[in-house]
Amino acid sequence: MKTLSRIYLFLIFLFLYAPIVVLVIFSFNDSAVASRSVFSGFSLRWYSTLFQDGMLLSALRNTLIIAVVAAIVSTVLGTAAAIGISGMNKWMRRTVMNVTNFPMVNPDIVTGVSLMLLFVAGTRMLGGASLGMASLILAHITFCLPYVILSVMPKLRQMDPNLSEAARDLGCPPLAAFFRVVLPEIAPGIVTGLIMSFTLSIDDFVVSYFTSGTTQTLPIFIYSMTRKRVSPEINALSTCLFGIILVLLLVINMRTAKDTKRIQTSAKEV
C-alpha cells in the first residue's frame, strides 16, 4: 500500500510537472528550428532576445501598473466595505454578499463580456475614448474586490467587539480607535486580500482580453505569442515567471509559518 501510494503520487506529480520541466529545458535550447522537440545545445540567447523585446517590456510595465493600482484600490475599498457590511442587519448583509459573490461564481468570460459592454457603452457616452489602461484597471478592481472582502470579513468576525468599545470608553476618538485597535486586529486579512488581488490581477487573461482594447498586458502578450509565432522566447519567459513565483511562494510560506508560530506562542502565554 505504501509503495503503491508512492507510485501514484509520483505519477500525478509527473503529469503536473513534466510540461513545465520541458518548457524550462527548451528555454535553454540553442536551435530555433525544430526547437520544440530536439535539444541542440545550451544557450541563453532566448533570454537576451526576450529582454530586448520592447513589446514585452511595455506589456510587463502595464501589467505591474494595473496590478499595483488594482490591488491597492480594491484593498482599501474592500476593507471599508467589509467593515460596513459587518455592521449591516442580516437581510441587508445577505443581499450585498450575494451580489459580491456573483463575479466569483460567474464564468470569467461572462464577467469579461459584461464589463466590455459597460465600457463600450461608457466610452460612447463620454465620446471617442477607447478601452485601455483605465478600463483594465476598473475591471481588475472589480474582480479583486470580492476576494478582499472575503478575506477581511472572517477577521472582523473573530474580533472582540468590546475592544474598540473599550478604546472609545477610554476617550479614544472613533478614527483613532479604528487605526489603533481595529486595523491591527484585521491586518492579516487585509494583507492576504492585497496579495491575492495582486496575483489575481497579474495572472488574469480572460477579463483583460475583453476589456483591454489594444493595450497589452503580459498574459495578453503571451496569448498573441502563442497564436502568431512559435518562438522559444515563450519558454524563456515561462522559466522567468516560474522562478519568480517559486521565490514569492517560499516567502509567503515562511511568513505564514512565522504567523502560526506567533499564534502558538501567544496561546501558550494565555
Binding site: 501510494s5 520541458v22 471599508a80 450585498v96 464564468p107 470569467d108 476576494y147 515563450i234
Partner: protein, 272 residues
C-alpha cells in the same frame, strides 16, 4: 454605529460594475442592432446546441477524470505526516500559479505531431500518434489546468474528518473498504461538491484550451462568445444571448450542487 457608511463607496461600485453590466447582458440579449426588443438572439442560440452539448460533455468528462485522479491523491496526502502534507499541497498548487496560457502552451509542444511525445515514441520504434487538435487533447488540457481545484477542497475536507469516527467504524467491525464507502466518502461530500463545481465551471466556459489544443474544429461555448465580441462574426447581441444562456446554465448547475451540500460548507470557501 456609523460603520455602515464605510461600505457606501463599495455599494456604488457594486451597482456600476456588477449589476449594470449584468443588466446590459440581458438588454443586449433581448434587443436587435437598432435596440428593439426581439427574441431572435435567444432563438439563434438554438442553432449552436451542438456546441453547447460538446462543451457540457467535455467539461463533464474533464470533471469526472479530475475527481477520479484527484480523490486518491487528496486521500494519500491527507494521510501523510503533517510536515509532509504542507510540502505536497504546495507542490499541487505550484503549477497553478503559472499563467495558464503557458501551461497550455507547454502541452501544445508535447502533443504536436512533431512534438516531444511523438519524438520519444519514434525513438522507441513506435509509430506516431495524432494527438493535437482532438477532443482528447482538449479534455487533457482541462484536466491539467483545473485538477488542483479538485484536489485542494478534497484535501481540506479529508484532513478535517474526525479520526475517532473512522476508528469507531473499525471497532464496530467494518473492513477498510466499508469504512471508506460508508464513512470517509460520505463525510468528504462537501469537498467533492466544491471540487466538482470549481472544475466544471471554468472547464465548460473555457475558450483558450479549445483554441490551443483543439484546433478550429472543436469549438466550445467560450469560443462562440469570443467570436461574437472580438472575432469575425461580430454580433454582441447574439454573444450576449449565448452568455446569458451560459450564465443560467452555470447557475442551475451550482443550484443543483448546493442541494447536495446540506451543511453549506462552501460559505466563505475561498482558497488561498
Amino acid at each position: 454605529m456609523k460603520s455602515k457608511s464605510a461600505s457606501l463607496p463599495y455599494l456604488v461600485w457594486m451597482v456600476i460594475f456588477i449589476i449594470v453590466p449584468t443588466a446590459l447582458v440581458f438588454v443586449f440579449a433581448f434587443t436587435d442592432k437598432s435596440g428593439r426588443f426581439t427574441l431572435q438572439n435567444l432563438q439563434g442560440v438554438g442553432q449552436y446546441s451542438n456546441v453547447f452539448l460538446r462543451s457540457i460533455w467535455l467539461g463533464a468528462l474533464a470533471t469526472v477524470i479530475s475527481l477520479v485522479l484527484g480523490y486518491p491523491l487528496a486521500y494519500i496526502i491527507s494521510k501523510a505526516r503533517a510536515s509532509r502534507q504542507n510540502v505536497l499541497i504546495m507542490l499541487v498548487m505550484l503549477p497553478m500559479w503559472m499563467n495558464f496560457l503557458l501551461r497550455t502552451y507547454a502541452w501544445m509542444t508535447l502533443l504536436e505531431d512533431s512534438g516531444i511525445i511523438n519524438h520519444v515514441l519514434n525513438l522507441l520504434g513506435l509509430p506516431s500518434v495524432h494527438m493535437i487538435n482532438t477532443q482528447g487533447a482538449v479534455v487533457l488540457g482541462m484536466v491539467y489546468n483545473y485538477i488542483p481545484y479538485m484536489i485542494l477542497p478534497l484535501y481540506s475536507v479529508l484532513t478535517k474528518i474526525d479520526r475517532s469516527v473512522v476508528e469507531a467504524a473499525q471497532d464496530l467491525g467494518a473492513d477498510s473498504r466499508k469504512v471508506f464507502l460508508r464513512v470517509t466518502f460520505p463525510m468528504s461530500m462537501p469537498g467533492v461538491i466544491s471540487g466538482v463545481t470549481m472544475v466544471f465551471v471554468p472547464a465548460v466556459s473555457t475558450f483558450i484550451i479549445s483554441k490551443m489544443l483543439g484546433g478550429g474544429s472543436n469549438l466550445l461555448i467560450g469560443d462562440l462568445i469570443d467570436m461574437q465580441f472580438l472575432g469575425s462574426a461580430y454580433n454582441p447581441n447574439l454573444g450576449s444571448a449565448i452568455s446569458l444562456v451560459l450564465m443560467v446554465l452555470i447557475l442551475i448547475c451550482m443550484g443543483i450542487m448546493n442541494q447536495f451540500d446540506e451543511n453549506g460548507a462552501t460559505e466563505g470557501g475561498v482558497m488561498v
